[in-house]
Symmetry: C2
């Protein structure tokens, strides 16, 4: 259906991810018949610019989805739980960037470069994985298919924008306060809904999201559960340590991968470089490696520090960086939408 155009709703249009979605829909020339930005009652009535026109934001109610073909949700899990099924009942396909349905039966969890074929199994809702999962599974994909993967141990260095505008604003205000010797405001980080808030400026906080099971946080368990679902492999061993660092945009990950077969390092580098969506930046002698500041505003996953483990013959270490608002969220959602209409 080469010339079909679509009515596209963006739920959470004023949010950190929603704003990136609007930019990408424009930049990637998504075939749009009508853009419908939706938000909470508080932001409804405001206008945004889209393709040179002013568009008024509407309140996200069930009836706001009437006539919508594709609804991109990124307004928090509770909004998705309340409205995604309403949208589906009104004929929309929902692409949900929250944790609400990721592990639900019948909801494909998709990174297009990894498991695009899962999209076809949807029953109205397709989930976008967690930001820290997306960049990791894309890095693992060519290795998984060539050698098999026994286990993964990952430590993250996550930007505050994963916690939304308020967290970005807080890091900025905290940093100013520290430099000026003033009292440091602490209201949002590490987790807005929890009791204790800590200074993020010039600090590192080993907590992203709430506590989950066995001493792990929900963010860590998302990486574990989602990766197994995306590869459809319950035997895949994963352990994660998720950590917030004072960076605005761009998650970094130190990943240890234990393959099922021995590998040649040059082949690994070639496989990664050939993978769609990956850019290899790997030359420590020339100080070439990925960093979040360089990855910000790009949609690719950047990989460097590719080196053999010093102990295990099937072990491999990688440094993986990507913009959490783009490939980790908005870009991946739009790619799912593009794959969806391509398959129609």
């Amino acid at each position: 259906m080469a010339n079909k155009k679509y009515v596209v709703a963006v739920v959470g249009a004023t949010g950190a991810v929603g704003q990136q979605m609007l930019k990408l829909l424009e930049a990637r020339q998504f075939p749009i018949e009508e853009l419908r930005p939706l938000s909470s009652a508080r932001s409804a009535g405001k206008t945004i610019q889209f393709q040179g026109k002013e568009v008024t934001i509407q309140e996200a109610t069930p009836d706001a989805f009437t006539g919508v073909d594709i609804a991109l949700f990124s307004a928090g899990g509770s909004v998705s739980k309340r409205l995604a099924k309403e949208a589906v009942e009104r004929g929309a396909v929902v692409i949900d960037n929250t944790n609400a349905f990721r592990m639900s039966e019948g909801v494909p969890l998709v990174v297009p470069e990894v498991n695009k074929e899962a999209i076809a199994t949807h029953q109205g809702i397709i989930s976008n994985p967690n930001c820290s999962t997306i960049q990791m599974v894309l890095a693992l994909k060519p290795l998984y298919h060539r050698y098999g993967i026994e286990r993964v141990i990952v430590s993250t260095y996550q930007a505050v924008s994963g916690a939304g505008w308020r967290a970005q604003d807080e890091l900025k205000r905290q940093t100013e306060a520290v430099l000026q010797g003033k009292e440091v405001p602490k209201e949002v980080l590490p987790v807005g809904s929890l009791d204790r808030h800590y200074q993020m400026a010039f600090n590192v906080i080993p907590q992203v999201d709430v506590a989950d099971q066995d001493g792990y946080t929900l963010e860590e368990m998302k990486m574990v559960r989602e990766t197994k679902k995306i590869f459809n492999d319950d035997q895949l061993g994963i352990t994660a340590t998720c950590v917030r660092v004072p960076v605005m945009r761009g998650h970094s990950e130190s990943i240890y991968v234990e393959l099922k077969e021995e590998y040649r390092l040059d082949e690994v580098k070639t496989l990664l470089a050939q993978q769609e969506g990956i850019v290899v930046q790997d030359a420590i002698e020339e100080q070439l490696y990925p960093m979040p500041l360089q990855a910000a505003d790009h949609s690719e996953v950047f990989i460097g520090r590719i080196r053999p483990d010093l102990h295990h013959p099937r072990g491999l270490n990688l440094w993986v960086v990507s913009d959490n608002l783009l490939k980790g969220a908005a870009t991946n959602s739009i790619q799912i939408a593009e794959a969806l209409i391509e398959s129609e």
Copy 2:
């Protein structure tokens, strides 16, 4: 020799670590007959306050060590290479906080809580390990002795003060420039002696020290080689990924340990809590875990996020934080000096 007092030289007395050494010698009431602060010609002639008196800094020359009992070196590897043997020839015992002699035969590499007994083997020089090594081996020590350790995989989150005053000043100036929208000065980080300098403010840099072998940096290989030497165990498997983060003081480490025997988690927590020099802060449900901002200015190693690996029955994950200028450098050096005079 309970009442003996010593002539103590501090080489690099104006540096980030040297300053901490002077504070600790005072605070811990080290038995000092005479303090001799030494530095480059540039700082010689300046005065410092010590035990309520003004003391003039002298230039670090061979003859400046005449009559010195203990010489604490922390002025860079080239100064140690030039002057440590001169000090030894003049009768001093050198405690060296640089990389100059750490891997040399006949030079014990000491973390007193781990291998104090090695001090007795010295031939004039005792080395202080690298900051990121010290906090890790102290965390590993009770586990090593109870269960044995098969392998370690560590990812670090290192403060800029490891690179000295200039790096701390640069992070501050960069941060101000970013907030004010001005051009960001880049002259020191990640490695002063190398060609390329990157913005550290609001960024993460996966390079600490120069490139070494097989794609690893020198900092990473220090962690590998020094840990094997301290435990006197060449079979110990270690892989490290060393990363600089925009933090002033306090290194954090995400450590995966594979023990040789299966363990009980409660026993691990008890062993760590009972270890001299370690403080356990471990309750994710109550948001209790170590952070560099809290660890700064303390001499202990803080451990939290203690949890079983989700895949390997002998795998264990830890989050270890310590002040790189104190236990990672000055405190450990002074502890070596204390153990040395205790054994006389």
